[in-house]
Amino acid sequence: MSVPALQTLDLSIGYSRRRKGDICLARALNLRLEPGALVGLLGPNGVGKSTLLRTLAAMQAPMAGQVLLDGEDARRMRPEDLARALSLVLTNTPYPDLMTGFELVALGRLPHSDWLGRLTESDRVAVNWALDAVNAGELARQVLTELSDGQRQRLMIARALAQETAIMLLDEPTAFLDLPRRVEIMCLLKQLAHQTGRAILVSTHDLDQALRNCDQLWLMREGAMLVGAPEDLVLDGSIRKTFLTDGISFDEGSGAFAVEAYAGAAIHVKGSGIGETWMRRALERNGYRHDPAAGVADISLGQNGQGPEWHLTIEERLSRHHSVAAVLEALKDAGI
């Protein structure tokens, strides 16, 4: 195993409250962030993901234990040294008036610059490289107020890259973004981890993207932290247990959350093509169970002269329908 970029030793995280006593969110964490890996931090709301990130970034004192950055205690490092070891991207993207994309990314060079924060030629090279790395070269001259949330978040990531730190921590960077933007940012982070050798830890609620892109997942739930490859955590049921909530469960087959089926009538859909898959979803959405063995109705996809056609069989009686909606209607009419 390589040397970890970040390591925690028996770390306990939480915060102290005056008079009411301390709140400890997690204890005895022994975690490792390896160079070149994208790690996803997942867990229900309020479990302490942000507190963990703040503690790892030394913005908050640990309740016990240590955070080591390249072997050095993060709490004992000077702010400048810390900023050369670890960079941060948060959920919200501040955008001061009149600031351009280049200027924003250039702020990442502050820990490397003199007392006035002047940019040298090597600083400019680093800023331009970071802009290119996130495909934001064309945003360099634009004013932040004229950009979209997704573009600004890409610039914030470029800023963290320009900081040239071995570790990048991101706290729900995609929370305010639309789906394509989320996919884009998570893919970007994966590439950056693999290509630049940075250790990147990203907290997210987007389980699907985390499963697809992360090299490792940290699953946080009350009192425990499960670490492993995404697929292993799916297969051993850890993800299902972590997000266990009444009425909603994680479906290992599809890798997504689903509302638990009502105890509705059982129906059998034959076949496994795209059409059949969406028919099953339509049935699930309407509270039917899928049961190949004991279905009160059978559905299959056939053809007629004009195109595809649904064949619905209830108690040996066959009816033909041209759309999913029509099948659902027929089921309802039959009192199923």
């Binding site: 001061p96 008036d97 200027e103 702020l107 502050l110 007392w115």
Partner: protein, 337 residues
């Protein structure tokens, strides 16, 4: 480039402010009075050296101080409506002045006069003490709190608290004393003598130098305290630099010139509008020059050359400042849509 233009405008205004006044003095006489300390009549020399020079320099220094402290507050609190007085320093000064002006009865005034204090100096001392004590309080608080928002709210609350105490004093005060207090609140660049000028200058220069050392932190703070911290800013030190600088600048100006409204809030907006940047390496000298320009303009307008009428300074600064703030707010609103 733009900064050079600003500097030359400031230079011209300095000359203009020396040249214009209720007594017209030939330009060559003014220059010779300034350079060699001589002019054709003693009266001209007196007017130039004892009145116009201190007034002009005071206006410039006060404008610079208020402009820069306004910029510091707006960046630190990340609020376009923040101004130098949000820390409560000028409220402290006004309480000091109110205590002296309103509470001393006839015998008290005689006693103070017996100690060698005369009117203006007494007010300056009272304002300076009030501002200084508030400044110490703010610094004490600033080292202990965690977020800038706490400081902002505490400062505002302190302002309200002090304002109510002043109101209480006003309520029980004699009418002619109330007039004296109100005169102080109008603000003036003419109260500083040539002997007091070095003291004001020392405070302002010290404040500006401290502000200059905070330039890097100010740029980082544009993204908020969390990001600033993650980019290597020592937040505690930055907060001390910003608060100390503002306190020095504002307490000195308020002590010597009274509470001068609007310059502090309007100048940074004006400067950003002209320079089109958020970089404090440009904005800091920029607000310094713009502040000097605005204050000198206000001073010139207040004196209404060729006329013996002198308008209260705060009337003029608000007349200049309010439209600027309105324009900025409207433009920002449009920009966000």
């Amino acid at each position: 480039m733009m900064l050079l233009l600003m500097a030359s405008v400031l230079g011209m205004l300095l000359l203009l402010s020396m040249a214009l006044g209720s007594v017209s003095i030939p330009l060559d006489q003014i220059i010779s009075a300034l350079l060699v300390g001589e002019s054709d009549t003693a009266a001209w020399k007196n007017i130039v050296l004892k009145f116009r020079l201190p007034k002009t320099l005071t206006a410039m220094l006060a404008g610079m101080a208020l402009g820069v402290s306004g910029l510091l507050m707006q960046t630190y609190f990340r609020n376009p409506l923040a101004e130098p007085f949000v820390l409560g320093v000028s409220s402290g000064a006004s309480l000091g002045v109110a205590l002296v002006v309103l509470s001393t009865g006839a015998s008290g005034a005689a006693m103070i006069a017996g100690l060698g204090f005369t009117g203006d100096l007494l007010l300056t001392t009272a304002a300076g003490l009030g501002a200084g004590l508030t400044m110490a309080l703010v610094l004490l608080v600033a080292t202990r709190i965690r977020s800038s928002l706490t400081l902002l709210i505490l400062g505002l609350m302190f302002g309200y608290l002090v304002a109510s105490m002043v109101s209480l004093l006003l309520y029980f005060a004699l009418p002619e004393r109330i007039q004296a207090y109100i005169n102080w609140t109008f603000g003036s660049f003419s109260g500083v003598t040539i002997e007091q000028l070095p003291l004001l200058a020392a405070f302002v220069i010290a404040g500006l130098l401290i502000a200059a050392t905070a330039v890097k932190a100010l740029n980082a703070l544009l993204l908020g305290e969390d990001y600033a911290l993650s980019m290597g800013t020592n937040l505690r030190r930055a907060r001390l630099q910003i608060v100390l600088s503002t306190a020095l600048l504002v307490s000195a100006v308020t002590a010597f010139c009274g509470p001068i409204a609007f310059v502090g809030i309007a100048v940074p907006h004006l400067c950003r509008g002209i320079l089109r940047t958020s970089d404090h390496r440009t904005l800091l000298p920029g607000t310094c020059l713009t502040g000097g320009i605005v204050a000198l303009c206000a001073s010139l307008i207040a004196e209404m050359p060729g006329n013996n009428l002198v308008l209260p300074l705060n009337v003029v600064t608000a007349l200049l400042g309010a439209p600027v703030v309105m324009l900025v707010i409207l433009r920002q609103f449009r920009g966000r849509q």
